[in-house]
Amino acid sequence: MFAFLYFTFWSILLLVVEVLLRSAGLTVPLLGFFFAAAAVAVSPRMALGFALVFGVAMDFVLGYVMPWDGILLPVLTLPVFFLHGKQLNSDVLEFLAGAMIPSVVALPHIWTSLTTPDGFASLMMSCLFGAFLFPVTLALVARSVSRLQIGAADAGKGGV
């Protein structure tokens, strides 16, 4: 129950912040970072479900006909199903995962990003930014989860 409330609160808040940042011209995939981190630190299954629902919600809020984020955000939570806990403690892997998240989120518009100078520069900046932000998000989520005593038992099976 606590895990569900935790996911709901952060998903609604981060969606609002991400959409407002996008409206200001900044693409920072906060929901992507959160779901990828929550999949590792809390529960991959719950992260997958919330990523699907809030990905679709974000697409609809921004007026997209095709819910791309509803497909791509759940993808960010999938690698944790194939990895073991020890592998996720590697700093290099965390940096790499963080750098990958913005490029996965930008996939529907990758052609525009790669063909225009501004788009390519902004994608590179996002990847660099993501490489540093993801380990921080992971640490914050892990710490808040342990403080709130939201464990794998509460979140259902699958906590790493």
């Binding site: 609002v16 959409v19 693409t27 809020v61 007026g63 997209y64 525009t112 225009t116 902004s122």
Partner: protein, 296 residues
């Protein structure tokens, strides 16, 4: 001599059964598609309305900050801005008065000719509340929706200000492609989802305009008559033939073919019609406020 095998009796094909088996997947497919689009529309409206107070609150904060920063400007600058706005206001008031007279004339002539009464349009003022960098020039979300009378297909206008403080020009920004109770999604004139009938100011030819995407920042006008001659820079106006579209609103100007398109600015499409490229009159990157024309 071995006796020949008896011919296998031909299976009778039951046509009605084949039709039934073919119809089942078609009906199922239609049901799934209908269900998906209904679900999508319902969920989209719910999402837009659920988050509306959050985004509106953020906009209120932004506006309050903008007002505060305006109040911190030097008095002389503010005074000259007020003076300029008063001048514009007077000019616009004069224009409105002239249009009222023309409207009355039009009404009287229609009555004399026994033509149906023209219902006209309502103007709804709205603010751009959401945009995504990846589709910045192609679509945005505005702060008014079904509750304010906006419907899918309504025309969205904005104003281009003259550099030296003349009266602003009304230009087309796009069309409403989706509405919820309190918000609407607008496809701009370069969005492929935006289609409307247009006419060219000098050659007086009519064609169909379709957005060509933000990468080229152009739109393609097709089905233009072959006989007319078209020049770069010619003004493109709404023709009034599309639904919910008044006549004579500036949409853009004819331009060269976008980079990467191996065609001339004006080409003949299969010998039947001509096609031409248009650059929009609106500055799509800086739109903040719009006016939506809704049916009365």
């Amino acid at each position: 001599m071995a006796p020949s095998k008896p011919a296998r009796p031909k299976k009778k094909v039951n046509v009605s059964r084949v039709v039934l088996f073919a119809a089942i997947p078609v009906v199922l497919g239609a049901l799934v598609l209908t269900g998906f689009f209904t679900f999508r529309r319902t969920l989209a409206r719910f999402s837009l309305d659920f988050y509306y107070p959050f985004f509106q609150a953020a906009k209120h904060v932004e506006l309050a900050a903008a007002r505060q920063s305006l109040a911190m400007q030097p008095r002389q600058k503010l005074a000259s801005a007020v003076e300029q706005l008063q001048r514009q206001n007077a000019l616009l008031a004069a224009q409105v008065q002239r249009l009222r007279e023309l409207d009355a004339d039009n009404e009287r002539l229609r009555q004399e000719l026994r033509m149906p009464r023209w219902s006209g349009y309502n103007e709804v003022y709205a603010e751009v509340i959401l945009r995504d960098p990846s589709t910045w020039s192609e679509q945005f979300v505005i702060s008014k929706g079904l509750n304010d009378g906006i419907e899918t297909g309504d025309l969205v206008l904005t104003f281009e200000f003259a550099p030296r403080g003349g009266t602003p020009t009304c230009v087309l920004a796009g069309r409403v492609i989706e509405t919820s109770a309190r918000t609407s999604v607008v496809a701009t004139v370069v969005n492929p989802a935006c289609r409307l009938s247009v006419s060219l100011a000098e050659s007086d030819a009519n064609g169909t305009l379709t957005g060509n995407g933000a990468s080229s920042m152009t739109a393609l006008i097709s089905r233009l008559p072959l006989k007319s001659k078209y020049g770069i820079g010619e003004m493109v106006l709404t023709s009034g033939f599309s639904e919910r579209t008044p006549r004579g609103i500036c949409v853009g100007y004819l331009t060269d073919a976008p980079v990467g398109v191996n065609r001339a600015a004006v080409v003949h499409d299969g010998g039947l019609y001509a096609e031409a490229w248009m650059r929009p009159a609106v500055s799509l990157d800086t739109i903040r406020f719009v006016v939506v024309l809704t049916g009365k």
